[in-house]
Symmetry: C2
Subunit: 395 residues, 2 copies
């Protein structure tokens, strides 16, 4: 890990909350901790940020790797606090509280700020032993994470390369399928959402990425943006493919969506595709110096509403039309800051965001087109290199 983040906004927030340090107590699933410490481990570990630096507390098993790989200024083993003896006397939880109490005291921390998702058991345990614990409620680490360093941009670019390979495999399967009785067929068997998803995932694995979910949704399935899709893919229907892989080594995500159709999806589906593409392009163009996420979202809504479709802006209760926001930040989490929605604030160089308008209706199906871009001083750079087109082709 080489993020080397600028944590000064966190230190300022901690100081202004009257705290002496910021403590994270979580495991590999916590991206904030991974970001701040430059380290990740399957089992829980702790990261303390003080004015002096970033301090890691890890098990003996992780000590060597933490020392070699992490971005922390100091790494301490649990055994430095006689953890094993404490467990024998007080059980694992009591031991952890006492160990953290000593760890904080060693760093001169009497009042500690913690993230909102800090475990209540740890917070209450420390409080019971006289350590003041306050919740940092502004989400400062998330805010810092929103602006990517050059190194981070390169990692996300790399994930997006894998994503392009996976999308190409999916497009190839759809492009080369036979059509029998209105169903896509491969080697005499129906081509299913599940098979295309499996091929996407295998391709990603071959490129060092993993993902737990892929969306390959056809027809009415695709009209629900959260439906992953299932069953045979049909001709003459819109097929939405949304891939959001994570690099297994760095943890950084990519994100892309394309919509395809074999056969003749019909005039209304084609019109919706064209309107979505126009909204997609308008949103990209709206990414300019000084623009907010809300401005970019509005640009997409303008196009979609002008074409006569509902958006959540024109009708907050609509269940058809453009029923989600235009985009979101992408990094160590697939959904992170900033937001490209009505509440989206000013876009800053280094923000990495998706642009993904869509139009949905169970009667027609769904259309969504999504690229991943980085905001720059002048506008944006598109991190996605993949053709936009409804007819699937084999490159």
């Amino acid at each position: 890990m080489n993020v080397d983040p600028d944590l000064s906004p966190l230190r300022e927030a901690v100081a202004s909350a009257g705290a002496d340090g910021y403590l994270i107590d979580d495991d590999a699933t916590d991206s904030d901790q991974r970001y701040v410490s430059g380290f990740t481990a399957p089992d829980p570990y702790q990261t303390l940020v003080t004015d002096d630096g970033v301090h890691l507390l890890v098990s003996g098993l992780e000590y060597g790797r933490a020392t070699a790989e992490s971005g922390a200024d100091t790494v301490t083993r649990r055994s430095a606090y006689d953890y094993r003896e404490l467990v024998a006397e007080h059980g694992p939880h009591g031991a952890k509280i006492r160990m953290l109490e000593a760890f904080l005291a060693d760093r001169g921390v009497e009042t500690v700020a913690v993230p909102r998702n800090f475990p209540t058991g740890t917070a209450d345990g420390l409080r019971d032993r006289g350590v003041a614990v306050t919740v940092e409620s502004e989400g400062v680490v998330e805010e810092i994470r929103a602006t990517k360093t050059d190194w981070e941009i390169d990692q996300i670019r790399r994930t997006q390369r894998a994503n392009e390979a996976a999308m190409a495999r999916a497009e190839e399967l759809i492009a080369t399928a036979d059509i029998e009785d209105g169903t896509l067929v491969r080697d005499g068997e129906p081509l299913t959402s599940e098979f295309v998803a499996e091929e996407i995932e295998v391709t990603l694995l071959r490129h060092g990425c993993s993902l737990d979910e892929t969306i390959v949704a056809c027809g009415a399935d695709a009209a629900d943006p959260h439906d992953r899709g299932s069953g045979p893919l049909e001709a003459d229907e819109l097929i939405v493919i949304d891939i959001f892989p994570k690099d297994k080594e760095t943890g950084y995500f990519g994100d892309m969506t394309r919509t395809f159709a074999r056969g003749e999806p019909g005039e209304e589906a084609r019109r919706r595709y064209d309107v979505t593409k126009e909204a997609f392009e308008a949103a990209l163009e709206a990414i300019e110096p000084g623009a907010t996420g809300a401005d970019v979202h509005d640009a997409a809504c303008d196009v979609i509403e002008a074409a006569g479709y509902e958006t959540l802006r024109s009708d907050p209760s609509t269940e058809t039309g453009f029923i989600h926001s235009t985009g979101h930040g992408v990094g160590l989490d697939i959904h992170e800051q900033p937001s490209v929605s009505p509440s989206g604030g000013k876009l800053e160089p280094g923000h990495i965001i998706t642009i993904e308008p869509g139009i949905y209706d169970p009667d027609v199906g769904g259309v969504r087109i999504e690229d991943l871009v980085v905001v720059t001083e002048d506008g944006y750079e598109n991190l996605t290199d993949y053709r936009v087109g409804l007819e699937p082709v084999v490159e």
Copy 2:
């Protein structure tokens, strides 16, 4: 999900803590919530257990699926508490606290018990609004989860079938490699840990499973049980393969380890293999009615110590020999209750545990043999159907 768990021990713990309900506020990464609610979702949701039943609070996007798929007695949408309006007025965090306050009040909950990992931001927010929040510190849900229902045993069995297919692929690659200058070679290229791991993962994907990490460690790498391994696999060296996949649909894990060697690993390596196998068999035999996890661990230590190797029992500071515990529970988490270690309590029918002794030394390499078994009334049933043998063969 069809776990249909018996939550009466949780209800008793909640009542004896003077609370009216048990609240979980987490996302898909929390296995306790998945277990209790029979539901999982990528975004945070809340589960409340009262004497009346299990109550889910989800976003509108998840409502349909939660109603259809979850095991909850009631499912409520956030919009029932005017969540969107609350966000506009109080921001997302303030809105969540007010929504939960109303949700708890609707169920007659004034004092709520929460798990240790409950977010401090939510706990403190509720406390600020007059809801009493106490931490349930015994880990009752984890304890309930330790005993699997028949349905759960079937899910884990299914994951272990996929695991066997992946291990067979790895063994085949090692068995069929050529040997050139002491290195395993395939199609003229060195056969690497990374390639074998990738083939394992692709095989698992083809069987509906995923995993983020696999261990394929050769020589000195394998002497560190946490080293995932890297680089070319060598002849005349021990190769440890440890696979712990998760079924993508059900979330249940499997776990298995085998150790192989091509060429001649030497007399000492062979002796360690035989001793490990003997310890493995002794530990399995020790799983009998009334036995504790500690008894089973002792049975493995007895064999290894009798053969002249150190264990953490004979020397707590040893860095060679048998340097971990004999096993752990497996379920929705890869490491869960019960423990097969010096602190392991009584084994009960329905416990699913690994048996995985090993002997390590950087000079000789590592050996580990691991099966996954379910404790029964009479002893155990092995959920693993895979040959134990040092020479790799192609079935």
